[in-house]
Amino acid sequence: MDTFVNLTLNGLATGMMIFLVASGLSLIFGLMGVLNFAHGSIFMAGAYSGVWAYSKTQSFTLALLAGMAVGIVVGYLAELTTVRRVYGKPVAQVLITTGLMLVLNEVLKAVFGPNIIAVSVPPLLAGSWDLGGIIIVKYRIFTIIVGLVVAVAGHFILTRTRIGMIVRAGVQNQEMVQVLAINIRRTFSLVFVSGAALAALGGIMMAPALGAVNPNMGLENQMLAFIVVVIGGMGSFVGSALGGILVGLAGAYTAWVFPEASLAVNVILMAIVLLLKPNGLFGMGGGRNA
């Protein structure tokens, strides 16, 4: 029983971590339909700059803010210079964001160096609680809380605010939103930048859990994020959160029973979900045209 609870907590924490990485992609790819292959690089930019800020200030709060600020700047520049020109053109999106990924990765290597940089969990969040044999790692609980806050806040903004209403309407019919006197391009720019900020948040949150940042972490986590968004359903923020949890739990349980299959299980899970629900768990049926 202790093992099961431990595995479940680990799975939940990992799932929330994956969701934090995928939450930005849920906006950019899931809602706007933009195939952003530079998402992992923005995630990595957040991780590296956050780790750098943490090493300079020893404040994890400042590290989080710095990582997100870098994510916002990189996201804004990426949208302004490249992504804006390929809205509605999926093939061009793949090509141009792949190019952007290569450029960003090289820029990060030039700025921070090509080596692995170690990072420790902040003292306040380090260690664990022992509840009668059940070991609860503090940083994992922190991750679960941050993930839940992001999921609830994202869902609230999308479903209960005017900006969320504009985004949902714009996903369905951009042209008509403009006819209602709304500058949808500006709204989509804001959504893209928000997605980039969330990617960066995911990066800096994941760095202490991994114990280090490395130049390959972007690509490794990007594929997982795409899988989570597809499982959760395109356009659903809550779906992505649930997708993250499912992937996290499946990975944790499989790692216990059959460790060799712990990575393959993500793809198997995605295939099963898509076979049963082709739009994903909470996917919107409508088309998107960003």
Partner: protein, 242 residues
């Protein structure tokens, strides 16, 4: 004139859809754009709205050029547009569709909201429902209601009667007559009886060019013009909206 188009040309891809559109819309009343399928009526409305920008010619609204402006900027000047497919956001509720179109939160908007609810009682009962579940007629009413929530001084409506049952078309005619009290309307319509019932003026577009314009009641009597440009050979229901 509230709206003027002079020698407007529009391309869609390589196709020269509008070749010479000239249109003068006076303030008040309904100006109907008529013509056969594919003549360029819908493209004319989309060109005015900035959705398919013109390559040549001038478009002025209240004496100022709106050519080249993005659609949202044109809409902010007080021009509303209801496309042929109504442009309803089916994943949003009826209330959200209406709220999305409001540009202010002042007392005037509140009174407009009450006015819309009075004109369209069906919508009032379905505010919390997803608009995708509305009937064709209800979607058309919702599309019109959206434009009434703002101080739009010019409404461009594209074939509102398309696909609607005759009884709904009759109701639509009443609604357009109500609209005339609040705003100037430019109406693209294939249903000649409806056009005759609500329109004051007309222009006929053929092959992307304006070929005739005048007073609607005169067009109602001119069978030759109806036959030649609109393909109408049978009596047009004596002007009765069906």
């Amino acid at each position: 004139m509230i709206l003027s188009l002079a020698a407007v040309e529009t391309f869609i891809g390589q196709f020269h859809i509008l070749q010479d559109i000239n249109l003068e819309v006076p303030e008040g009343g309904v100006t109907v754009i008529l013509g056969r399928n594919g003549a360029g009526k819908t493209t004319t409305l989309r060109t005015i709205m900035g959705l398919t920008p013109p390559s040549r010619g001038s478009i002025t609204y209240r004496g100022k050029s709106i050519k080249g402006l993005p659609p949202y900027a044109i809409a902010r000047k007080g021009i509303g547009f209801i496309p042929e497919d109504q442009g309803i956001f089916t994943d949003l509720t009826v209330e959200e569709n209406l709220l999305l179109s409001t540009r202010k939160k002042d007392d005037e908007t509140k009174s407009r909201w009450h006015m819309v609810m009075d004109i369209f009682p069906d919508l009032k009962e379905k505010l919390k429902q997803k608009s995708g579940g509305l009937s064709g007629g209800q979607k058309q009413m919702l599309a019109i209601a959206r434009t009434l929530l703002n101080d739009n001084q010019l409404l461009l409506i594209d074939e509102p009667s398309k696909g609607l049952a005759p009884i709904v078309v009759a109701r639509l005619a009443d609604v357009i007559r109500e609209l005339k009290k609040h705003t100037t309307v430019v109406l693209v319509e294939q249903n000649f009886a409806l056009a005759l019932a609500v329109g004051e003026r007309y222009i006929i577009i053929d092959d992307g060019s304006t070929v005739k314009s005048g007073v609607m009641s005169e067009l109602g009597k001119n069978k030759e013009l109806q036959r030649r440009y609109l393909g109408i050979t049978a009596p047009s229901h004596g002007g009765k909206v069906v």
